[in-house]
Subunit: 208 residues, 2 copies
């Protein structure tokens, strides 16, 4: 299968999250318009995405929840699992570590890094924290391919350089600094300010 | 001006973040293709967004950084400021409180809420934490219009109901539970799993 667009991958991941909730609530089938409502998109979009990954349904009953979870998993999960590392184990780093571990078996937070000697060489939220100075070695030894950045914004660029030198292939940037990476590294950025500003704009519009 | 699309608002907020960085680095002008590169979009998209908000430039020097920051601020900021509250003051709640306060003067985390008696009636990350049972009263008293949800996923639906009853107009949901709200409440959801799964997919694609 050829590479799917970024936005499709994002939506497939979100559908799976919803489907797992459906399954937990005992639902065995779901219609495209139900998925569409839950994700604030059109049913046409849902059907197009799911057709793209080669799954179809008899329209009467809707999609088989379990089967669709598996099909999405075959597309977006890795066969052998991937290891990620968190760089900067402050409140956000801890929150992410606790949030991820145990949720998906194929993605694992394998190590965390920090400069604070009070944090390094300890187990924090279930994961060993190493000094940033050892990042290159640990990333190679533990076959870590994804770096999650939760360092102070002023450190983001330098840490990214070290990550890429160590062979990291994907970066999830939670700092407020936009990064520039070479095209062979996949970069995903998230800034909380942007989300809050969007909410604030629409709240303001409703009030006016 | 008519209501702008959600995605445009998101991008304007991101442009402003970049422009503020430019300003801090002493840059006075910036070209659309520079902004485009930094945000992994096309220059045409950047110019279209900025034309939409009624700003133009002499092509030779690019956009005036300071002026464009002001124009974007006039669109997306509220005149009188908006108050937000964080519900669930665990690691993520603390990270967000610390991150926001002091960054934008017109958006303020005015209160936090939790059920844990060890946290309530104390100041955490600079903001007073109240018991969730007092949420309705405090939200009205402090004119809070945005709720940021960082509670455990199983509590998300019940807390949302209380928020809406208390008159909240916008919700930023960081739990792994998708919410359903009435059309007069603006909902923005963010799930870290989706971001990490996107990175993992593209890392896997690069390796194959």
């Amino acid at each position: 299968m050829s590479k799917l667009p970024e936005k499709t991958i994002g939506r497939l991941s979100e559908y799976r999250r919803t489907l797992l909730n459906c399954l937990a609530n005992g639902k065995t089938h779901v219609f495209s318009h139900d998925l569409a409502n839950l994700h604030n998109i059109t049913a046409v979009q849902v059907r197009r995405d799911i057709m793209l990954i080669g799954y179809s349904t008899t329209l009467k009953k809707g999609y088989d929840v379990k089967a669709l979870i598996d099909v999405i998993g075959n597309i977006i999960d890795t066969k052998d699992g991937l290891n990620a590392a968190i760089i900067g184990i402050g409140n956000l780093g801890r929150a992410i570590t606790a949030y991820f571990n145990g949720k998906r078996t194929r993605l694992k937070i394998a190590a965390t890094f920090d400069t604070d000697p009070e944090k390094t060489n300890r187990v924090i939220s279930g994961v060993k924290c190493y000094p940033i100075s050892e990042m290159g070695r640990i990333i190679k030894e533990q076959d870590i391919s994804i770096g999650i950045l939760t360092v102070p914004p002023e450190d983001a660029a330098a840490v990214t350089e070290t990550l890429i030198m160590a062979g990291i292939k994907g970066i999830l940037n939670y700092t407020s600094t936009s990064l520039n990476v070479s095209p062979n590294v996949y970069l995903e950025e998230y800034d909380m300010i942007t989300s809050l500003e969007k909410v604030a704009y629409f709240v303001k519009e409703k009030n006016e």
